[in-house]
Assembly symmetry: C2
Homo-oligomer: 495 residues x 2
């Protein structure tokens, strides 16, 4: 049987980088194994990187630039992790996974520029629409749905309170915040219900949790929310809730021309045969200051390892010796959010003719958050529909066809009958993907950051931790992934 | 390397059942593999049981009785899981892991009786001592520390409220409770702080979380706490908080003469060569209504599987096809509690001479909860010291010697100078054990039961789920483990 499993892992281990990828000379496990041989391992390198998402790729790239011999082991038959674009029949490209970038995301944008991937500002002309709990449509322009003065002031006051609290949370050690104990003892839901008396403001704050964190306010520690606000900036621009939640000028300001998957595939091409696909890592054995990284069909020895996976997936690798209790318990308590993305493609962005910018926020429906996802030239139309938190969970066991129909029904409700007949339909169900098992961001429930947070980045022997969930700026975003990988590489390079 | 790993897993795969075990004719992986051969698998049986804790052993025993051909695969070199006793140099036996039983735990006690393991009521003669936050000792008799009338009434009122709310929570489907949404949106901490105005009552309620659930009130969903209260009974006796938290007449009423590990080892002996130790299961492949269970060094094919592990550990097995998203996300959100147990052994139970029953509840210290753990005849003395929740976490990275000294310092504070010099010292650090990674019980943070709870027991193809965390009575206790295993077996037997 073991032989059978080995054979299975080798089947089709070639390159499948998908949309936007140049032809990459990555190795199959067999080729990589043949390339070198050492006593116990099939291959010996300086550093093994586990996971070829943006974090792992950025780490590997920097390590190679620093003169290290590197091998990247990726479980999937493609790179990119939670970044993945698909090619459309109409010749375009759509983002199944992460897609947005915005101000202060300096490392991601520098990397993209270096690789020749440009950004563009998303479509923002026309009105947004807010759907109330009874399905009433309210058209509006600007960042917030129309509301009475009292509600507006209550919401502003709550956001100010959150920003003020967030400013007390150190981005690299949120557990040391002055009021960390109190802030980590409650859910965001409890804080909203206990501190905001205005109904409309409360509703918007719960929506922010769903939309910006892809998790419900009840799922998340208040301290995590404050941390997540604090990290939505960079070294020179402190994070704030407005930047985190905004489209124009915020985290959803811009997209990448041709999609962000190119950033991953272009790094993959540069890595060449250092990258091995279809090689899920199952075990990491440390001994004498070295590590043996055991993947299906391939074992690689190294003097350091970067595990560039979300903590919950990193926790599924078998470590020998077993990891310290604090680290292991952290991985038991750091789930990924629940998320699916649907994109309906049309001949034209017809909603623009009606003066709509494609942005909907709704209190009901399978999708409660939409965006105009058309290409920069508007040569065809695309509506992006998020299923965040409870909306993703509600359809976990439903078929793709059922989800598609539910999304299209919502889009018809939001944008009219023309939405019923897309020319193409893209569905990314991240919770169901074996090697993601949820979307960005990960998050922590009450009690986790204060008691287990110190283990997020602390190396375990020669193992360093990277991934968007370990980042100290734009945690949970592509920017955070890139930063975390570069940081892990820098730590290894400085020895 | 794969060969090397295989060899390593075979080394010393013999029997190491430890204290209280009869000599058991369990098989090594090599023997088991040699015993049978099938096309893809080393062995073919009707049902594979993953994990030889009480749940897995009880499941296997019932399946065998029902005529099934069974193989149990256990990762450790012993059975019992979180149940494990050690032999003392003085000839006695002490419980490193689970140890208590009490009224309404009918299945565990019936099983023990059938196996010839008797129970006895713990030592309860004399006073308990309550240590306040400034270290003042208050001696008292009865179940609760002395407090003013107002505090007593406030605590009684809060406990009544919790019991009343718990009575609305169905033990087999807590997510269907009338107010499930609201109850699952807050931590137990938030409920205490928002609903109990009396300081003393609040303090006791937070202590109850630490002592009865081994987790802090901030860690846990209120709905989980209510569920945990509701299940502290059986078919004819509804659960209640008093039974859950009491010593005399409650969950900590009694112990097993010679220790509960005998229950596990006696079942292991009955299973004989159906039980394979040192065979951690890494992968379960389902295909055509059958499963191949792949452990280190051994693959077993079967028509059904019982995974009798805590959800967080079950989530670390690689499943093919991947499990449904709801189930996988549940395993990301169902951590084990943090717990260590220390037992100091003395020539005599000297505290009894001072009129103390050995029970301390303290608001400070490394251990804040102690019990007289002497054998039924009092022929030597033993003090059990729990490190629950934050106390366990605070020492995760400290050496055993440091923890021992801290515990002994506390015991001297609580029981006087004689406590400084135990003849033996037993330490069970469950968070650090590779194949436990925490103690009982598991628990869920807000938002988990209502959104992912349906996946706790729902079979995934031919895989059934068991373990104390899946039980509908005495979840998290040995009783729950036995019940869950017997239930999974019954489900398989009825086809």
């Amino acid at each position: 049987m073991r032989q059978q499993l080995n054979r299975r892992s080798l089947l089709g281990a070639g390159v499948a980088l998908g949309a936007g990828a140049a032809t990459a000379a990555v190795a199959t496990p067999a080729q990589a194994r043949a390339a070198q041989a050492a006593d116990a391992a099939d291959v010996v390198v300086d550093t093994v990187v586990v996971g070829a998402g943006l974090a792992g790729l950025a780490a590997a790239r920097k390590l190679v630039a620093g003169g290290k011999k590197v091998m990247v082991l990726e479980a999937r038959d493609r790179v990119g992790g939670r970044v993945h674009d698909v090619s459309l029949a109409n010749g375009g490209t759509m983002e199944r996974g992460a897609q947005f970038t915005g101000p202060t995301q300096t490392r991601l944008q520098a990397l993209a520029a270096e690789l020749g991937v440009r950004t563009f500002t998303g479509y923002n002309t026309g009105d947004s629409v807010y759907y109330t709990a009874d399905g009433t449509a309210i058209r509006y322009s600007g960042a917030l749905p129309p509301m009475d003065d009292e509600s507006y002031q209550a919401l502003g006051q709550a956001m100010y309170q959150l920003d003020t609290l967030a400013s007390t949370v150190p981005v690299d050690a949120p557990w040391t915040a002055a009021k960390a104990e109190e802030l980590d003892a409650q859910t965001f839901h409890s804080w909203i219900e206990g501190n905001v008396s205005n109904d409309t403001a409360r509703t918007i704050l719960h929506l922010i949790s769903n939309g910006a964190l892809s998790a419900e306010s009840r799922d998340i520690s208040l301290l995590w929310v404050l941390f997540y606000i604090a990290v939505s900036g960079n070294e020179t621009n402190p994070g704030n809730l407005t930047r985190l939640t905004s489209t124009l000028g915020g985290a959803r300001d811009s997209r990448f021309v041709g999609g962000p998957y190119q950033i991953a595939t272009k790094m993959a091409v540069q890595l060449g045969s250092r990258l091995v696909l279809k090689a899920p890592v199952r075990r990491i054995v440390q001994s004498g200051g070295r590590a043996l990284v055991v993947a299906d069909g391939l074992s690689v020895a190294a003097s350091s390892v970067v595990v560039a996976l979300p903590p919950t997936l990193a926790g599924r690798i078998a470590y020998s010796p077993a990891l310290p209790a604090t680290r292991d318990q952290l991985t038991q308590r750091f789930p990924l959010s629940s998320i699916a993305k649907a994109i309906a493609v049309y001949d034209k962005p017809f909603w623009r003719d009606a003066g709509l910018n494609g942005q909907v926020a709704s209190l009901t429906g399978t999708t409660r958050s939409t965006f105009d996802n058309s290409p920069p030239d508007g040569s065809y139309g695309a509506l992006l529909a998020f299923l965040d938190g409870d909306q993703a969970r509600a359809v976990e066991e439903r078929s793709d066809a059922t989800v598609k129909q539910a999304v299209l029904d919502d889009l018809v409700h939001y944008f009219g009958a023309k939405a019923a007949t897309p020319t193409e339909f893209v569905l990314g169900r991240w919770d169901a993907e074996e090697f993601s098992r949820g979307g960005a961001p990960g998050f922590t429930a009450p009690g986790v950051l204060t008691r287990f947070g110190t283990a997020i980045r602390r190396p375990a022997g020669v193992i360093h931790w990277a991934g968007a969930e370990t980042a100290t700026f734009w945690n949970g975003h592509m920017e955070g992934a890139v930063r975390s990988g570069e940081q892990a590489a820098a730590d290894i390079l400085k020895g």
